[in-house]
């Protein structure tokens, strides 16, 4: 299976995503240049982390107008998997692929730390190899990670099981102490209505090796493989 990883000017986790796909998953990956209009036959699109266009104005606001985003949107509309990580999540929200927005962390500081997330829905194409309620460890590194959405939208996300990950403590508790950025309802990741676009602030691609502290992210990539290959 082929993963297309978009390189926007200022992306800096494209390399990490590439390594995770090729090195850990053993699948094919290719970089997609933001100015192109060609997904090069990719089955899965990753919008990686970083600071596209410096995150100037608003994180993700300028990147969503990159030429390649037209094809990414079409791919998503056709049901193709899209994984937005960190800045990729911000871009996906700005582009309207996912509802809501990511605002400045409530404590106003950049936060780089290992966090825990609880798997809220293990019946998605990104999480089918996890158990529901399982606690995963992954790094976060962002300044604008506070997920917000209008009240109606939040209810809808909850009702449809589209909140996929929530920041949690070691025992699975959902509380303010476990929330690194002030996200509403501790939301760390959500999925689109059709279930094929996942946006998340934590970095699964940085959690792919026990040597680096966690390999809890591997099964996320494997889940996609399992579902798409099936």
């Amino acid at each position: 299976m082929k993963f297309g990883i978009v390189t926007f000017p200022g992306s800096n986790c494209d390399y990490d995503a590439f390594q995770a796909v090729t090195d850990i998953l053993g699948e094919e990956a290719t970089y997609l240049w933001h100015k192109d209009h060609d997904l090069q036959g990719s089955d899965v699109i990753i919008l990686p982390g970083g600071f596209s266009y410096g995150d100037y104005l608003r994180a993700g606001a300028i990147a969503r107008f990159s030429p390649i985003m037209r094809e990414v949107a079409a791919h998503a509309k056709a049901g193709g998997p899209v994984l937005g990580i960190c800045n990729g999540f911000q871009i996906a929200c700005e582009a309207g692929l996912l509802p809501g927005a990511l605002m400045r962390n409530s404590h106003l500081q950049f936060v780089s730390a290992e966090v825990r997330v609880r798997v809220e829905n293990s019946d998605t194409m990104f999480t089918n190899l996890y158990d529901r309620g399982e606690i995963l460890r992954m790094p976060v590194a962002h300044g604008d990670g506070r997920y917000v959405a209008p009240p109606g939208v939040l209810e809808e996300l909850e009702a449809e099981g589209r909140v996929v990950f929530r920041y949690a403590d070691a025992d699975g508790g959902i509380n303010a102490d476990a929330n690194p950025n002030g996200s509403e309802r501790n939301i760390a990741g959500i999925i689109s209505e059709a279930g094929n676009v996942l946006g998340m602030m934590p970095h699964p691609e940085r959690a792919c090796s026990p040597l680096l502290g966690s390999n809890d992210g591997v099964r996320l990539l494997e889940s996609i493989l399992a579902r798409v290959a099936a």
Binding site: P9, G10, N12, F51, G54, Q109, F110, S112, R206
Partner: protein, 768 residues
């Protein structure tokens, strides 16, 4: 030679103008002698920048020459943008440290950010991809709101820049001491990785080759920053504020990718960052290294503002710019690469056979210097060096003459005081703002003794750390210089790495004062002794002098940036206790010295006594023993004793990792010849706390290396206490209290001032 005439509208050269440019009368005469005529305003500006301390090293060059710089694996020593060492497998590591003290004192956010940007460029111009950032920071007391403002601004500046470019910030050190109150130190270090065959040097070559300006456009930023960095900080510095540059990490990221692509492409022969003194120093230095002439036409330099004079274009310190010598005929290919990254490239000059450094404005020559004398003929000084008798007296004072405070009857009190001293307390408040895991190589990030980064495609890793204890250097520069290197080496060795080489940043006061020059000379001598003994040559560095304010000079602070190599990933060792029941050993002697300690400073407000002895041969033996034990697989954890001594080291082994705390039972009661406080808080050098499942093996390895080693206790995972038996007393500290002291101090202090972290570009408080 061409006919160089003053340009219409340029100021007339007067003694006042010369003085304003920081040139002495003798230096000016030297310039006139070199030219054989009076300089133009443009020429005066050029020389003022190139002969500034920052660019010319005029007070430090002879001293730096005494440092060892070679080893079989050193591919590039001092003199280039960064040093480079081979780590085998065809791979090499480039690294360099640099100061941005003065800009940060005036505008902490931009000052620190542009410091990070500059050192990144120094590393990627060598053909290396940056893989890690470090820093070394000094501030006054955190009780002062201006200091809190500086601290939070610097941390945010470092974080925002490095995070945006996507290079992990993995280690550093932060010290708070009134000695730095009005003159903070901000040193940034970058480490990069390259294939040996991609190494490129900043040496202009090939007559007829075009010289190109690449990256951001040139504006009126930071004109004369280099000479600014070579002056004392006075109240008048406020007026110099417009000189401060603004960083654009987004452009830096594009420039990084474009430069690496350019170097790989084979279209260029040399590349150099336009750093301090901008276009002037980069072009003059490249010409000098290549022993060629250059000519530059300032009207072809892409500018951001209209109407910039040659003087301004040459001296601008606008950020995110590079100077490139391309191969003739490849100009378009170079431009194509830059355009792909939305950056500009313009031909602005040429390498010429005639041995001159020439600047034109269109057809008119506005500056011309013979040969490379601009660089080679700059003055060099060896002023008088004499120790201050006041400091000698401080050193001679007996620390044991200071009576204990009543509270010290409970050593747990003292330990908690020390753990909550901002210099010792956890710096997580700062490094949580740094992305330390991007690029997925960080095995050990901030919080350990040194950071460890794996090297992909090999079974190796490198360990990196910055270190210096300025208080020791103040009390005894020779010994302090040795300790700075030894401590950095020890920190790297604690992770399982063989110390390989250093870069250094010499932060000192005004060298024309005999007591400062004495410190500089002695400290570098001490560093050299340690480097030779430990086999860690100096591959480069930076000198920052004139770190003085009306209240005096900073502590002499020669910061060491150490790189070590781990040749097997299984040797990577952490600082905190790992396994229940492991035996705790002390490698090295108990010592019992108290001079220059954090204990005296924090508990008694005294900076006195001789700093701990530092026998560099014993340091070498200690590192050999430690690495021997690690490689034998019998070390669960290793942590060196530094600020706060053995007690603080043990406490850190228990609680530094909040995810994995453990208690410990320690028995030091047999050392009755020493005072309890000296056992606990003395900072004798050459010591490492090791935990091991096989203590007899550690003892045997140490004995063979001739290093004292003793079993001192046991790791007690389930215990919630650190217990230490002493000759006269005993210490019992619940981990919860140690944790609070260590982890909560800095966040609490910084929470006092929400105003400092409010905006992207911080707003200062009413201190100006």
């Amino acid at each position: 030679m061409s006919d160089v005439k003053p340009r219409a509208g340029d100021p007339v050269i007067t003694p006042a103008l010369i003085a304003e440019h920081g040139l002495t009368k003798l230096e000016y005469e030297r310039l006139v002698g070199m030219l054989g005529r009076s300089p133009t305003f443009t020429e005066l500006g050029i020389v003022s920048a190139l002969w500034s301390e920052h660019c010319s090293y005029k007070h430090s060059r002879p001293i730096l020459k005494t440092l060892p710089t070679t080893a079989p694996y050193v591919l590039q020593g001092p003199g280039e943008n960064a040093g480079v060492i081979s780590i085998g497998d065809g791979l090499a590591v480039a690294f360099k440290i640099e100061s941005h003290n003065h800009p940060s004192a005036v505008e902490p956010y931009q000052g620190a950010a542009t410091g990070v940007g500059g050192i990144l460029r120094d590393v990627f111009t060598m053909g290396a991809r940056p893989i890690a950032m470090l820093n070394s920071l000094r501030f006054g007391s955190l009780d002062d709101s201006r200091v809190r403002y500086l601290f939070s601004g610097v941390v945010k500046g470092i974080g925002d820049y490095g995070n945006c470019v996507g290079i992990p910030t993995v280690a550093g050190e932060i010290v708070f001491d009134p000695a730095y109150a009005n003159n903070p130190l901000v040193n940034a270090m970058c480490v990069g990785l390259l294939h040996e065959e991609d190494l490129i040097r900043a040496k202009a070559e090939g007559v007829g080759n075009p010289i190109m300006a690449v990256g951001a456009r040139t504006g009126r930023d930071g004109i004369h920053g280099a000479s600014f960095a070579s002056e004392d900080l006075s109240d008048a510095s406020g007026a110099k504020r417009p000189r401060i540059q603004v960083g654009d990490p987004f452009t830096e990221k594009l420039l990084l990718e474009a430069s690496l692509e350019l170097i790989k492409s084979g279209h260029i022969v040399a590349i150099q960052d336009m750093g301090a003194a901008g276009l002037t120093s980069s072009s003059a230095e490249m010409a000098e290294r290549g022993d060629v002439g250059v000519t530059i036409d300032v009207t072809r330099v892409p500018t951001r503002e209209s109407g910039m004079s040659p003087y301004e274009i040459l001296l601008s310190e606008s950020q995110e710019r590079m100077l490139v010598v391309a191969k003739k005929g490849r100009e378009d290919a170079v431009r194509d690469i830059l355009t792909r990254w939305d950056l500009t490239a313009a031909v602005i000059g040429e390498v010429i056979a005639e041995p001159v450094y020439r600047v034109t404005e269109g057809d008119r020559v506005v500056a011309e210097f013979p040969g490379s004398r601009l660089v080679t003929d700059c003055p060099s000084y060896s002023p008088e060096a004499r120790e201050s008798s006041a400091i000698a007296d401080l050193r001679a004072a007996d620390p044991f003459s200071i009576a204990e405070r009543a509270e010290e009857r409970d050593p747990a009190w003292t330990l908690e005081q020390l753990l909550s001293a901002p210099t010792i307390a956890s710096k997580a408040w700062a490094y949580r703002q740094y992305d330390s895991t991007v690029r997925t190589n960080t095995v050990i990030g901030p919080g350990g003794d040194a950071a460890v980064l794996r090297i992909r495609g090999t079974n190796k890793a490198i360990a990196v750390k910055t270190d210096c204890n300025g208080r020791y250097v103040y009390l005894d520069p020779r010994v302090g210089g040795r300790i700075a290197v030894a401590e950095a080496a020890r920190n790297v060795a604690c992770t399982g790495a063989r110390p390989m080489a250093i870069t250094n940043c010499l932060n000192f006061g005004n060298p024309t004062r005999p007591e400062v020059f004495f410190q500089l000379k002695e400290a570098v001598a001490g560093m050299g002794e340690a480097c030779r003994a430990l086999g860690t040559p100096v591959t480069g560095g930076n000198v920052s002098l004139y770190n003085e304010s009306p209240s005096g000079a900073v502590y002499p602070t020669p910061v060491i940036g150490m790189v070590g190599l781990i040749d097997d990933l299984s040797h990577i060792t952490r600082a905190t206790f790992q396994k229940d029941g492991d035996t705790i050993l002390l490698l090295g002697e108990l010592g019992g010295e108290l001079g220059g300690s954090e204990y005296l400073a924090t508990i008694h407000g005294k900076v006195i006594g001789a700093p701990p002895r530092c026998d560099v041969e014993r340091e070498r033996a200690l590192i050999d023993a430690l690495l021997g034990a690690i490689r034998a697989g019998v070390v669960s954890s290793a942590h060196d004793c530094s600020d706060g001594g053995l007690a603080v080291a043990l406490a850190e082994c228990c609680i530094a990792n909040p995810e994995h705390e453990s208690g410990a039972d320690i028995d030091l009661s047999s050392h009755s010849a020493l005072q309890d406080r000296a056992i606990l808080f003395g900072e004798s050098q050459g010591r490492v706390v090791v935990s091991s499942p096989a203590p007899e093996r550690v003892l045997a390895i140490a004995a063979k290396a001739g290093v004292p080693c003793a079993q001192i206790g046991r790791v007690a995972l389930e215990s919630d206490t650190l217990a230490i038996k002493l000759p006269k007393r005993s210490l019992r500290s619940p981990l919860s209290r140690l944790r609070r002291a260590y982890h909560e101090t800095i966040p609490k202090i910084m929470a006092r001032t929400p105003e400092h972290s409010t905006f992207d570009e911080l707003a200062p408080v009413a201190a100006h």
